[in-house]
Symmetry: C2
Subunit: 436 residues, 2 copies
């Protein structure tokens, strides 16, 4: 719904936006207006979601970068013959030759790999496909008990793969928990029958709550982002005049601005929620929260869930990366402006066409673009002037335009978050390639 705008000209478009303005819907509410040709969007309505994207697969996907391992394929027997040590089991050589022997080589990149570090797995341990190393690591962490706490030297976002897994125990254990490794109590003596069932491969709230930080607002926004891109592109296509731009320019604009657009959409959506006043839901009980979370785990654009999420799990975060608090501030700003949905829609357009000069020069049809841009600008000015008196209108226009800096700020922060969530950039490229 959110990105929806059917084929019509500019005036029809603004008219529609006006008429649709008072139309609110919640993430877990029902869609009231069934007559309009809505294309459902994840930013509020949550249609059928590919459930394959659950926690384990998600992280597996994020970590599936082509690890460069051009091992020389020699000197394994070499070292053991030259130095006849009594034993040499461990492989800490960092250029090992041992793991190119999985029979289903590298076709889908996924099976037979350790879900934690992408090394070759030796079986299912503690509920998850892992390598010997991660198995032992998790075992030791269990044996050590609750006393030991690892600390990350960076931001709890360390890469965990075959060569780096020894660097940060905190992040390694975090990933272990994320992919669902569990002790299942101490092993029962000798029951040959129904043993360890495979872990459900879904976020487990109890496990999840043990984790510290990091994976909350940012993670969900990143995931949301993936799902929302197609809707955003569809929306842009239906902007009057946008399709007249050359295709390359459309792609350029969409690609450059998609993060900002995601942000402004979530913000405008949140402004419409009646119960989105900051700090209200913070008093909800954990039980209520779990109900809500269980009701619809998959994905939701509204900040309401995010807020609950943060309230329960999120402790203090690193300075400057707390997306949640920052978003609340911006929402409150817009609420104080008493902004209408119509104004939000036009602000979106302004934001989409607010490019710096270098980007503008790279467009193929600058003329057409500038026309479009000034048209949007004009539109906002008219909107402001019609409501209030002359000088009041100018003042409101200024307020609205200046508020875009806040959106931009959030977009930049989100970009930083995403860049740390592995290959968001290439992911984006691929997505856009498949869509257009």
């Amino acid at each position: 719904m959110f990105w929806n705008s059917s084929n019509m000209n500019w005036h029809q478009y603004t008219a529609m936006v006006n008429s649709v303005a008072p139309f609110h819907h919640l993430s877990n509410g029902v869609l009231l207006n069934t007559s309009s040709p809505v294309k459902s969007s994840l930013l509020g309505d949550l249609p059928r979601l590919p459930t394959a994207l659950c926690a384990s697969n998600y992280f597996q996907y994020l970590q599936s970068k082509p690890v460069k391992e051009f091992q020389p394929t020699i000197l394994r027997q070499q070292s053991s013959t030259t130095t006849p040590l009594p034993y040499d089991r461990r492989d800490l050589s960092l250029s090992s030759t041992a793991n190119s022997t999985t029979y289903s080589q590298n076709l889908p990149v996924s099976r037979q790999q350790c879900q934690v570090c992408r090394d070759s797995a030796s079986g299912v341990h503690y509920g998850v496909q892992t390598c010997e190393g991660c198995k032992s690591f998790f075992k030791r962490s269990l044996q050590a008990g609750k006393g030991q706490t690892f600390v990350c030297a960076a931001d709890n976002k360390c890469q965990v793969d075959k060569r780096l897994r020894r660097n940060c125990a905190a992040c390694r254990l975090r990933v272990c928990h994320m992919v669902g490794m569990k002790s299942n109590g101490v092993r029962k003596t000798k029951v040959g029958k129904t043993r360890y069932i495979r872990a459900k491969n879904v976020f487990d709230l109890e496990e999840y709550r043990k984790l510290d930080s990091v994976y909350n607002t940012e993670t969900v926004l990143c995931r949301l982002f993936q799902n929302e891109i197609p809707n955003m592109i569809e929306w842009a296509k239906n902007i009057p005049g946008y399709k007249d731009l050359p295709l390359e320019d459309q792609v350029t604009l969409t690609r450059t601005k998609c993060l900002d657009m995601l942000v402004i959409s979530v913000i405008s959506q949140s402004c419409n929620l009646e119960n989105a006043q900051p700090a209200v839901s913070f008093s909800l009980s954990n039980q209520k929260y779990e109900e809500l979370l269980a009701h619809n785990e998959s994905s939701s654009g509204s900040l309401i869930k995010e807020k609950l999420h943060s309230a329960v799990i999120n402790p203090l975060k690193a300075y400057g990366t707390d997306m949640f608090c920052n978003m609340l501030k911006v929402i409150s700003h817009y609420k104080s402006l008493n902004i209408s949905q119509t104004e939000f829609e036009v602000l979106k357009l302004l934001l989409l066409t607010n490019v710096d000069n270098s980007l503008k020069q790279s467009l193929t049809n600058t003329e057409l673009f500038s026309n479009l841009k000034s048209q949007f600008r004009e539109s906002l000015l008219n909107l402001c002037s019609s409501k209030d008196s002359r000088s009041q209108g100018q003042s409101r226009y200024d307020d609205l335009v200046m508020s875009l800096t806040l959106i931009k700020d959030l977009g930049t922060r989100l970009e930083a978050c995403m860049s740390q969530q592995a290959e968001a950039s290439s992911m984006l490229t691929n997505l856009l390639k498949t869509i257009l």
Copy 2:
């Protein structure tokens, strides 16, 4: 010079800004105008600089957080008596009791500490005060030769202190280089006389060039930031009407906006440099670069040095953190707008007063602030209108206001950088406290 604006009313101020507009100065140029009562600023003129802030001290300062070590002060002899092992030298207990015995306890937090990890130092090793651990670590890295390369699992920004130094070898070695540790060749056999002189404690380019990334644009901006704050505050005090605001509001505004103000100043300064076209200095030879760097190491606001710096040292950076490229883009944008210094000055004022609602509510005198803000806004509108025709003026006004999103974007990125450079936030608080 840059933050300079003497005591005068608003009209005098704009007049002065107008008259001073075509006045350019380079970082290594001479100051031409000696009659005006300029207060020199680091953002271009570089007066006497407290040279105490060199590389080593800087990192030492950044890392001087109050490490929470409430060691139980027992069980040292305990363990050696209960288990009569033949040897137990190393202290890996993580709650050691050994380092509260430095006789000059914790008065200035600085002396007798390892410059790398803040553990208690055992003397000067490889030219720098270090602990035994870091000494051995550096020794091994020398013995291993160039073959071995450490890789950081995060972003080459890991914290290095007593408990975390074992986490990331890459970052530990990086810090070793940063504080100036050197091999000085292999030790001469037996010369009892003039031996290792203490390292100069200044950035050494040769050592520095060995490092990968990270410490370039961002580091210098952070350092510049420290030095520039007082000038910024002085500048703000002289804005007509600003001193009429309550003192708390002044502090609030200054504190919230100082990063953005730093960014816009560097940008405007860079736009004035004749040779600041992007990608021009990239062709300079290394020798030329070293000359420039040697000429004035301490601090310089102009991007010209930054550009050289990056051109020589900076390889590709993490996505989204490359301040340098982003700044170049913005500079080029403003150059294409053909922006005047006067316009920049007013933009600065607009940026200073562009706060979100929550901040505005926290001000004590909202009325006064709003008046000031609209005054600034008016001023820019007049400036634009006077130059061009009516509609042209509005268009330019829009362009300028929208361009503030670009500045905000840079500010946000810089904030992220600074937050990773340890305790920039508390540093800022202290600074502001001492000034006001």
